[in-house]
């Protein structure tokens, strides 16, 4: 579905979605102010912003980093802040583009748990792109297998991994296919 070109209508729909890029850009400001950005952009009052940001940082275990300059964080910390910043305004849809690429296992685990938690506790629908089949199996409810930009197969995670309809899907999830 394409977004309408009408500026305000487009902004209204865009504001229900949040996107985290593979290479995150955090603003040269405190972690706290980074997380508050989306709320301020939506005109939340100062009191609401304070309450929501403090609560969210507590929830996702980033409270200790609140005062840190965001551009001094490690890659894993930065990605967690980016996700927190993206969900601060309770979007209905969260789009993640390879959020754990180039991260160490500990941070991957932390981020996957954060994604599960956001999905469970805040009922945010998460669409996530990953090249890591194991990661898809670990956290997804539904899997869409895309090859060369085309959807090959989609379905519940267990079915895709144990009983795929497509031969290419089977080879890929078994780690035998070379693309």
């Amino acid at each position: 579905m394409a977004l309408p070109n009408n500026g305000l209508e487009r902004l209204r729909i865009q504001r229900k979605m949040a996107l985290v890029f593979q290479k995150t850009l955090l603003f040269k400001d405190s972690v706290w102010n980074n997380v508050a950005y989306g709320l301020r952009a939506r005109g939340y009052s100062r009191g609401e912003v304070n309450k929501l940001v403090d609560k969210l940082l507590e929830q996702v275990g980033l409270k200790d980093l609140a005062a840190r300059r965001a551009d001094t964080l490690s890659g894993g910390e930065a990605q967690r802040v980016a996700i927190a910043r993206a969900v601060a305004f309770n979007p209905e849809l969260l789009l993640l583009d390879e959020p754990t690429a180039n991260l160490d296992p500990v941070n991957i685990e932390l981020i996957e748990e954060m994604i599960r938690q956001l999905n469970r506790e805040k009922s945010i629908t998460v669409v996530m792109v990953t090249h890591n089949v194991f990661q898809a199996r670990r956290i997804a409810d539904q899997v869409i297998f895309i090859d060369q930009g085309e959807i090959v197969e989609m379905g519940p995670t267990e079915k895709i991994f144990t009983d795929p309809d497509n031969e290419n899907t089977r080879l890929y999830v078994e780690g035998k296919a070379i693309f």
């Binding site: 902004l11 865009q14 504001r15 949040a18 996107l19 890029f21 850009l25 603003f27 040269k28 950005y37 989306g38 952009a41 939506r42 300059r69 551009d71 001094t72 910043r85 993206a86 305004f89």
Partner: protein
Amino acid sequence: MSRTFEGIIEAFRLILAFDADLLQIVFLSLQVSVTAILLSTLLGVPLGTLLALKPEKKTRLINKVIFTFMGMPPVVGGLIIYLLLSRMGPLGVLGLLYSPTAMIIAQIFLATPIITGLTMVGVRAKGEKIEETARSLGAGSALAAWTVVKESRFGIFGAIITGFSRVVAEVGAVMIVGGNIAGHTRVMTTAIVLETRKGNFELAIGLGIILLIISFVVNSMLYNIQKGGRSY
């Protein structure tokens, strides 16, 4: 040699005695250049940001024009403003020639391309990515643009300071449009030219020292800003 030495001694005496002529000249210099830079900043920063966020293909010609104007010799800039403001020129009726206002206009003409061009370079480095991020977080056009400016602040401060150090030290344009009138349009650089020609080295050396001190302060700021920009 002893004459130079005496000149330096006398220059320090003038500076330390807060000599009225010297103070007036320094004050006018700063007044003209600071005003010009404030106005150039208001013009150049938004324009540079806007150009940096447009696809480079669309702005290629205007970029070249701006870069050319960045290297405009001050005397040529002064000549152009002179022709505009002189009695027979299109803005002659305003009667601005040989006034501090004319000098401010000439310096705006020199500094705006510098601030615009360097802002553009500073913003272009990451501007698109910053705008994209701001928009993905729900910012409208105005907030997204403001965020780009804020995030590119090191480059933009650098642009402003470079513009200032250029205009405060230039002599050609203010000489042509200001006329170096004592007590009215005489600034540090034009006074140095005049006093040197008269063989009156004390005041010239004193002003030279003050210009160097201003240059040192301004460039220290620039250095710190750029160091700050790198370490993050």
